[in-house]
């Protein structure tokens, strides 16, 4: 009997070992490229023959800031992201409210259609967008690129918000009215505090999506609206790996910051996985 129990315990430990091995392998697989890029961005004359770069320098960052004009590129990226967030949220608020709280005929079909831009690779419709934008003279404008981003930003915003609004209990609002609060006061004391986390979550998601968007930017940008993802890509083509690495690190840092900030408030599983009931 004891032998059997020991055997099972050993197996469980074995499972743990295997589990942890997989976990760490996976982590290394994801983290290693970042680590290498980080080192590359700080190293001089490092051509892969040794584990660590022989000399450390900030030259590449200096180059990125001065020659490649990264601050300007970064500000473009942020402006476009802010615009994309604004437009997406404006669209998503009423749409989410309707989907979450009203009986809409063909709701499932509508939801699928809303998700379509995220199911199809953006390159498929980016060209179409570019053609229309040329005619509307929206190419190389911050607003134009932002609107293009809305195609991929709005779907998730709508989904998150419809889930948030659906979770708002009608009875709680009734209770507020019975307690003596007018519609306006109910909105400020009850509705707003309850939906704010969902709205913030939607904003963060939209921001990150726009910030990282490449394909749609590629088709609608111009010299005045170069964004960081596009700039980094072009830098790869230029062949300066070290500067590219520096740009990549600059690109990644805001996203990491946001991730750490929201980690407590919003469960990352909810952002990536399903929305209802997760």
């Amino acid at each position: 009997m004891n032998l059997a129990r020991q055997y099972w315990r050993g197996l469980a430990n074995g499972k743990k070992i295997i589990g942890y091995t997989f976990l760490w392998s996976f982590f290394l697989w994801i983290a290693a490229p970042f680590f290498i890029i980080f080192l590359k961005s700080l190293g001089r004359n490092w051509f892969g023959k040794r584990w660590l770069p022989p000399e450390l320098t900030l030259d590449w960052y200096r180059w990125a800031v001065t020659v490649a004009n990264i601050p300007r590129v970064l500000s473009n990226t942020l402006i476009i992201a802010a615009l994309a967030v604004a437009v997406s949220t404006l669209i998503a608020l009423p749409t989410g409210w309707a989907l979450g709280r009203r009986r809409v005929p063909g709701k499932e079909l509508l939801t699928s259609i809303i998700l379509l831009p995220r199911m199809i690779p953006p390159i498929a419709y980016a060209l179409g967008i570019a053609q229309i934008f040329y005619r509307l003279r929206l190419v190389d404008t911050h607003l134009g690129v932002a609107i293009a981003h809305v195609a991929v930003c709005a779907p998730y915003a709508i989904l998150v918000l419809s889930s948030t609004f659906e979770a708002l209990d009608e009875r709680v609002l009734e209770a507020s009215a019975v307690c003596g609060a007018s519609h306006l006061r109910t909105f400020f004391h009850v509705t707003l505090p309850l939906v704010l986390p969902g709205i913030l979550s939607s904003i963060i998601f939209t921001f990150t999506t726009s910030y990282n968007e490449f394909t749609l930017t590629l088709m609608t940008y111009g010299p005045h609206t170069m964004t960081l993802p596009v700039r980094t890509y072009l830098a790869v083509g230029e062949g300066y790996w070290e500067v590219t690495s520096a740009m990549s690190i600059i690109l990644v840092i805001p996203s990491l910051l946001v991730l750490f900030m929201i980690q407590r408030q919003v469960e990352p599983e909810k952002l990536v996985g399903g929305f209802k009931g997760v």
Partner: protein, 372 residues
């Protein structure tokens, strides 16, 4: 002149094709606890929501404390309400939940503090002031809901199936706690429920509703003992119904010919020659000869007698079809006459067996007459 706290005058409300409230007339006294009782879909919640203002009736007027509030929105009607799913504000602590109606009404901080603590003490939850609804059990949440409704001493308290989401034992405990609280505060209350035991246990008066109409209003005793329609008789407690025709009237009593209870002569010989005597039942005014009506009697009022017992009024021969042992009582189904099943519940002191022939007695004092 009785003092009515709530008056519903000819309230009607339609949802699409359904008439949820059909000319409802209801008056509730000051300090009374009235229960609205009925099956799902009978319109009791709609009626309650007409009082709160969440539903605007298509026709009729609503009065609270003699004021016509029909056009006054919910938040200005000075009510307290307790919900089935508690409906506490999840983002506020117990203290803030209970203090919300006070805060909204602009009471000064000190007064609010005093009232919140007083109310928390009333529901015995002083220690939970800083907790959040998600940390509380169902019963605790409902108590907080009650506190929030009572905090500023409204004139009227409305309860919409407040205990339906709690388990049976807790329901029973809280039922009396609520009743006690309401009595102590002297507040007028309207309590909606589909649980008849609950309705009878706590109400001063009960309004039984069915399909948008009020079938009967009365004290629990009246509703139970003297139901005025088949629906009420059937909905409250257990009942037996026998159809018959009035053959004669005498001094507050009627003889009702109930053919179903008579055996067919060829099939089973009639014992004691009771055939032709008919049922003697108390009759109110307005009953006429030749009228078709229902005679109704509760199973625990029916007497079971051994087959050899002497002749008596309202007694019929039958056979025990089924019996169920319920612990403190025995439930019999007796086949009488033309296939009528009479349900009898006895205390079990005298026992009969399945298949045994017995006599079923329907004492005239326990029979009631219902016009169909």
């Amino acid at each position: 002149m009785p003092e009515w706290m709530i008056e519903l005058a000819d309230i009607s409300k339609r949802y699409g094709n359904t008439l949820a409230n059909d000319h409802i007339n209801l008056r509730i006294l000051k300090g009374e606890l009235m229960t609205l009782l009925g099956p799902s879909g009978c319109g009791k919640t709609t009626t309650l929501r007409c009082i709160t203002g969440q539903v605007i009736p298509d026709e009729g007027r609503v009065f609270i404390d003699s004021i016509d509030v029909t056009d006054i929105p919910t938040h200005r009607r000075e009510l307290g309400m307790v919900f089935q799913n508690f409906a506490l504000f999840p983002h506020m602590s117990v203290y803030d939940n209970v203090g919300f109606p006070l805060m909204i009404r602009g009471l000064p901080q000190e007064k609010r503090h005093e009232l919140v603590l007083e109310t928390l003490r009333l529901i015995r939850m002083e220690g939970y002031a800083q907790q959040y609804p998600r940390q509380l059990s169902g019963g605790q949440q409902q108590r907080v809901g009650l506190a929030r409704a009572l905090a500023y001493h409204p004139k009227v308290l409305l309860l919409d199936e407040p205990l339906s989401n709690l388990d049976a034992k807790l329901r029973e405990e809280m039922r009396f706690e609520i009743r006690d609280l309401i009595s102590r505060l002297g507040i007028t209350a309207v309590y909606v429920t589909h649980d008849q035991a609950e309705a009878l246990a706590i109400a001063d008066r009960v309004a039984v509703m069915n399909a948008g109409r009020i079938e009967q209003i009365g004290t629990p005793d009246e509703i139970y003992q003297s139901p005025r329609s088949r629906f009420v008789a059937d909905f409250i407690g257990l009942s037996n119904f026998v159809r018959g025709r009035v053959v004669s009237l005498q001094q507050g009593y009627a003889i009702v010919q109930a053919d179903d209870l008579q055996p067919r002569p060829a099939v089973r010989p009639a014992h004691d020659g009771e055939r032709g005597e008919g049922l003697l039942v108390p009759a109110e005014e307005g009953i006429q000869e030749g009228q078709e009506l229902l005679v109704f009697i509760r199973p625990n009022d029916v007497n079971l007698l051994p087959i050899g017992s002497e002749r008596a009024r309202n007694t019929y021969t039958g056979q025990i079809h089924k019996l169920t042992y319920l612990g403190d009582k025995i439930d019999y189904r007796v086949l009488v006459g033309e296939g009528v099943h009479i349900r009898v519940q006895t205390d079990g002191k005298v026992r009969f067996h399945e298949g045994e022939e017995v006599k079923v007695q329907l004492p005239e004092s326990c029979c009631r007459v219902i016009k169909e």
